[in-house]
Symmetry: C2
Subunit: 803 residues, 2 copies
């Protein structure tokens, strides 16, 4: 993959322009064909209504621009023997990218039934947007793609993610002027302050101003040139302009601009790598201004189409019914002169292929776009080195994410040479207690530095920018190109990327069904600084619903873990770092938390995903418990254990089982999720008929939504976050949401029948404790000493004889 820095001549020979234009015409022809044709692919006969698809679906408007870019990337890749990848921001222009892949042969290699001949062309056309065929957008099934492009905004961050730690790779990125209006895209321009010219590859943004969105002009196409130029230079770029609607001129100018851009990239990289210059370079970018729907019908039914928003989808909508539309379509298709482009058998003629590279250099064949091909196992060190020693449950406190930081440091350290692991976060890595990472690497930073700065590093692999969108986009691009990563985020603000994670899960779901797509490393979230501990920030920072959001998605892809202590967090982290093709969500606190399990116990518990904590319960061998206290999450686990202790003191004869759930999908039936429990497994844990008091980290109804199919569901009573919070103490938070130990004991009393007068007294004691809390906090502003000093008592106070 080494690069030969052949510099292209500034003028492009006439015959080369002709070849570029032939390739472009071929790609345009194939794009139109996909949108319209069922039959007669080479126009060997006059076009008739029965050749036309019954449903005309697809996006023509952006396609000629994408075809132009693909054609010119082909040229520089071939001439310079570059290793390249392209992210197609306007990925709804699926016909264009598919057309080019078919032309270069990568499509037929991936899908042998779509051969590179007339028969294959007919199938290529027919399958597009046809039920059971291929979707209208660039999708996982499109060779060479890592980016769907249906939801706009993520192309540039994906491109940077692909370029990180790929020093020899050129990542071109087409950004539509519609997409450029989105927040995520607008933020991601500043990614160039994080691109290391030594260890990273190059990103070449190509801002395509075709002027219109669905129904409106775009902002960037309608501000003065000088303003646009200032903006892009303000983003830190050296800008090259290509503009026009005369194909020959645009092709010549585009070839020159591409050549210049690649020359400048080479120079930047050489300077940085050979001369160790620390100054942030001004990377080149291209502004390409061409008409929307270029080369399509100029007017339809008397209204302008080419160069307007009307070219967005299908410019001629009535082809099957309207003879004039049919005539226009035939003229449009024939304007590309297909007979000059394809031989009698439908194979592209040599002139069309003159600029197309070969083998894995083809954009549709690069292994970087099928990252699993390049993926190596991550060296995760033995957990024993980091695990807490636990003599007995609840005797010591540790900060789980702090210890996780030590583990991640080791992973970071051991990948220092291979550089295939990054940790991203929106300015929260240290706040989330992962600062041990800085012993192994620094924070990527190419902007200015001051003496007071800490851990900034031109070559760092911790990525921090105050944009969850950019973090997510970087990480997705990094993973999709065959590397590993970890995203730590404040729990509430994971919602900022709800829509992005949707698209990534959809991508993985579809990819899993494609045998040629190799599994990639999972996208791992650590959600911390969670809902129960927002002492500084209060209500705006309290939302545990990202888990709910993710669990709506494909069960084969999503996994949610709530480790209750440090060793379980380590065990979960080890698991997710080795996993493939998942989105793993880990919810774990950064505040001191009791150690409950030894490492061995933690591993066994996490492997089961949910289990009985015998040492915490009071049930007797061979007898059913009277009540189950269940918990998921660190704070709920603490409150459940405190409740178990109170029950031992106040209701010593009650047989209590304590169940902890780490893997939330265990609560689903096994028919609904690969980790789900069968009915008998569920009953074995929770019993079919005893009351279950469940303290859950997030919104309580999520537990019902997961467990409703199980027999015991009517006995399930869940406490959790009920959207009640402010800047207050940790214990006040659980009281406000009725998940405190006292309320949990009251719940037990309310649901276990026949407890008698002792229960009445216990209930009163619980109510008194809550009143004590309210009085104390009003007076002192802190939590009750009986709560802050609470520790787990391993020996039963009194198990007595059961009533």
């Amino acid at each position: 993959m080494s690069e030969t820095n052949t510099t292209l001549p500034v003028t492009v020979p006439e015959e080369e322009t002709a070849a570029l234009m032939a390739h472009w015409r071929a790609a345009n022809y194939l794009a139109v064909g996909q949108i319209y044709l069922m039959d007669n692919p080479l126009l060997t006969e006059a076009l008739r209504p029965e050749h036309i698809k019954p449903r005309l679906l697809g996006h023509w408007g952006t396609s000629p621009g994408l075809n132009l870019v693909y054609t010119h990337l082909n040229r520089v890749i071939k001439a310079r023997e570059k290793s390249a990848l392209c992210v197609w921001g306007p990925g709804h222009g699926g016909p264009a990218v598919i057309a080019n892949s078919w032309l270069e042969g990568s499509y037929s290699e991936t899908y042998p039934d779509i051969s590179r001949d007339a028969d294959g062309m007919a199938r290529l056309f027919r399958q597009f947007s046809f039920p059971g065929g291929v979707p209208s957008h660039v999708a996982p099934g499109t060779p060479g793609s890592i980016h769907e492009g249906g939801e706009l905004g993520y192309s540039l961050s994906h491109a940077y993610g692909a370029a990180f730690d790929n020093p020899d790779l050129l990542v071109a990125c087409v950004i539509g002027d519609g997409e450029a209006e989105t927040g995520p895209l607008a933020a991601s321009w500043h990614s160039n302050k994080f691109l290391d010219p030594v260890h990273d590859g190059a990103v070449l943004p190509i801002l395509h101003l075709n002027g219109y969105k669905i129904a409106n002009p775009t902002v960037l196409a309608r501000i003065p040139e000088a303003e646009l130029d200032a903006l892009l230079r303000g983003y830190g770029h050296d800008v090259l302009y290509v503009s026009g609607d005369d194909p020959a001129t645009v092709h010549r100018d585009m070839a020159r601009a591409m050549g210049t851009a690649l020359d400048r990239i080479s120079l930047i990289q050489r300077t940085a790598r050979e001369e160790d210059i620390a100054e942030r370079p001004h990377w080149p970018m291209i502004v390409l201004r061409t008409p929307k729907g270029w080369t399509g019908p100029a007017t339809v039914d008397g209204l302008p189409v080419e160069g307007t928003w009307r070219a967005h989808q299908v410019p001629l909508p009535g082809v099957r019914e309207n003879p004039e539309h049919l005539r226009q379509l035939e003229a449009w298709l024939r304007s590309y002169r297909p007979e000059e482009l394809f031989d009698r058998d439908g194979r592209p003629r040599p002139e069309v292929m003159a600029c197309v590279p070969a083998g894995p250099r083809r954009l549709g064949a690069t292994p970087h776009a099928n990252g699993g091909l390049l993926l190596r196992d991550l060296p995760v060190p033995p957990l024993e080195r980091y695990a807490m020693k636990v003599d007995r449950p609840g005797a010591a406190l540790h900060e789980p994410t702090h210890v996780l930081g030590d583990l991640l440091e080791a992973v970071m350290e051991s990948t220092a040479g291979r550089r295939d692991f990054r940790v991203v976060g929106p300015d929260e890595t240290a706040s989330n207690r992962l600062q041990a990472l800085y012993k192994a690497t620094g924070k990527a930073w190419q902007a200015g530095t001051l003496a007071v700065d800490e851990h900034l590093d031109r070559h760092g692999r911790v990525m921090e920018i105050l944009s969850e969108h950019t973090c997510q986009g970087w990480l997705e691009g990094y993973l999709l190109t065959g590397r590993h990563g970890f995203f730590s985020c404040y729990e509430a603000f994971a919602h900022i990327v709800d829509s992005m994670v949707n698209q990534h899960i959809k991508w993985l779901k579809v990819s899993r069904a494609l045998p040629w797509r190799r599994p990639i490393a999972s996208l791992n979230y650590l959600l911390t600084s969670h809902v129960w501990r927002q002492d500084h920030n209060g209500f705006s920072h309290q939302d545990p619903g990202f888990v709910d959001h993710v669990l709506n998605k494909a069960p084969e892809v999503v996994r949610v873990y709530l480790p209750p202590d440090t060793n379980t967090l380590l065990s979960v982290a080890e698991h997710v770092l080795h996993s493939r093709d998942y989105v793993n969500v880990i919810v774990a606190g950064k505040q001191p938390c009791f150690d409950w399990l030894t490492l061995d116990e933690a591993r066994a518990h996490c492997a089961r995903g949910a289990g009985v904590w015998d040492w915490a319960g009071t049930e007797r061998e061979g007898e059913e418990p009277d009540v189950i206290l269940a918990c998921a999450g660190d704070v709920p686990t603490q409150e459940i254990l405190a409740a178990a202790l109170l029950i031992r003191r106040h209701l010593p004869r009650l047989a209590v089982r304590v169940v902890n759930v780490v893997d939330l999908a265990r609560l689903l039936p096994d028919t609904k999720h690969p980790h789900g429990l069968s009915d008998s497994q569920y009953d074995a844990l929770f019993t079919p008929d005893k009351p279950v008091i469940f303290a859950y980290h997030g919104y309580p109804w999520l537990i019902h939504r997961l467990a409703y199919r199980h027999t015991g569901h009517p006995n399930l009573h869940v406490r959790g976050y009920q959207e009640s919070g402010t800047t207050t103490t940790p214990f006040d938070m659980v009281v406000r949401n009725d998940m405190d130990r006292y309320r949990l004991v009251m719940d037990v009393i309310d649901r276990v029948p026949g407890l008698g007068v002792r229960a009445t007294r216990a209930r009163q004691a619980m109510e008194d404790a809550r009143l004590r809390h309210h009085a104390w906090i009003r007076e002192h502003g802190t939590d009750l000493p009986e709560v802050t000093d609470w520790t787990w008592q391993p020996l039963p106070v009194d198990t007595g004889t059961r009533a």
Copy 2:
């Protein structure tokens, strides 16, 4: 509220600078006091540990900058008799905004127990971040605020929303350099291409470069000045710079910059309003570069703090235990010379108050920040004008959102003079079939235009930008300042604003508990181009989960409606347009949909929220039905009715009840949502023991999560979207997700016992129909004629005698 365009002298008199600095010192003192002090507010005695709060929480770093801006806004507001509002992007600097409100008196007017004297100051300090007191961020309880500032990114779009249609209002907006890295903020800079200098007020962005986030430098503070300048000019601004760490110099420069900015704003507005100049102006903005934690401790424990990220929260963390920290805190507080700022009784001295405006001009007292004070009822015309005539159910098809467009057009028309209604959407207003709006107004647009453009209008009130974030931010700002609006959005991409709507719902929830906050117009979403009809776009555009997300939030705020036809959509729309303090989510299709109900029936049905459609069922008076077919959403309703028809043909003796649910919260128990049903109401609709086959628009488990507490829940069997989709036909979508009519009939057969051999034959017929579908679509790429030609048959085929 008219403005007198007094131009300030370019030099600021010495005594005025002194007064500005005194005010600023007072605000800084009060900010530090809030973070630290329980007692001894005026430092009348030496500071002792017991004066210090037990939990030190809050954000000092941004506070001196906010105090500086507040002080200088005061000055220009007073001098120019401006009506102004400020959006505090770094709203986590709660102590600063509260301090200024207390100084100007608006705090004590809002909260009389926090009087403007020593006692009040003591309470002001104690309540801050104290359990039961006020939260640490700017929050609904903060006078003068419309913006929480806990979640970063939305300040500038809020500011523009506030300025639209408020021609005499100045909206200042402080943007932190951390916030500036977020996507939503980055996108919102282009809002100036949508600000009408004639009918809108002015937005004055103040980019505050204090250099650091939680733990990192900020990008914008570390790029070269020339690059920053290019960027901001590229955003279309005329930039004024204020920079330094010498208070006197910065105050003088800030006064000058504020004066210049307001002069330019006046000139722009005068030119546009008096001379009708159409050219987009370059609005002024200010870049303010001052140290983070300015005037705080320079170093703590030997490490630099002032001017670094270490000043972000509480610079001296150990004050109660560490005598050196205590000493530093006392020196810090005394550095503001409180005795010069407050009299013996704790009242601000005249010099401090010299620049502070009076009455409603005070930032903490402007009615624009308590929009309900200014809100007028929206003139919604009689629905009769727009309603479809329905002779019998299912006889005609209409596009529901198209008809809604006619209604919205009338609202737009009738608010042409008052200008207090806007429709926002990410380039989808026409795609969502609301184009009738353009008969009443155009699309707001101040950038360049071409002859081919349609409906662009410098004074338009339809707002389109391809950024859901910006649309949402604009609309929130518009509503919070007392106006009305409507957001139409592709259903799947509403998730882009998940996190924003969270914050708005939280704002409304807290506001509702504040008697002084008057109700504002609801935030109304129309989610259309929904999951079942993504013919062009496929899987990436399919996600019905926004409803799930919203229903996790405060039940007193959230409402979800799924009108099954055009007249029900009109009825729902009328309701939400009149409602207050809600977030209303309407899910409705834009594709042709059968009319089921007359307007009167629709109104009655929507008022009930859920009801039996007698005309569709076959149950007999006084007898229980055998099965309930329930539905929510337009496509599910069609499939359920088709299933009902199939049942009549194949199982004529089965007594079927059809229930339609419009208001999704009806499914909750009445203890959990104000719209919830009591157990007996639920049983009356769904029976306690008969099988219910429920076709739901979105994820099926949402229905279980809502209904699980009801007695009949174990009989509830829900079909819905199961995350299975691609570019395919409408009917194939329901088949892929097992929500088609044939599957629903099979579900009935599987769940109603004792149907005998006729059921076996019916089941086979259904399976055959599904096979027919698969074969047809493979062959033709379209839906089965028996599906596309299907219409509702009003007369029962055979009700016969029941078995």
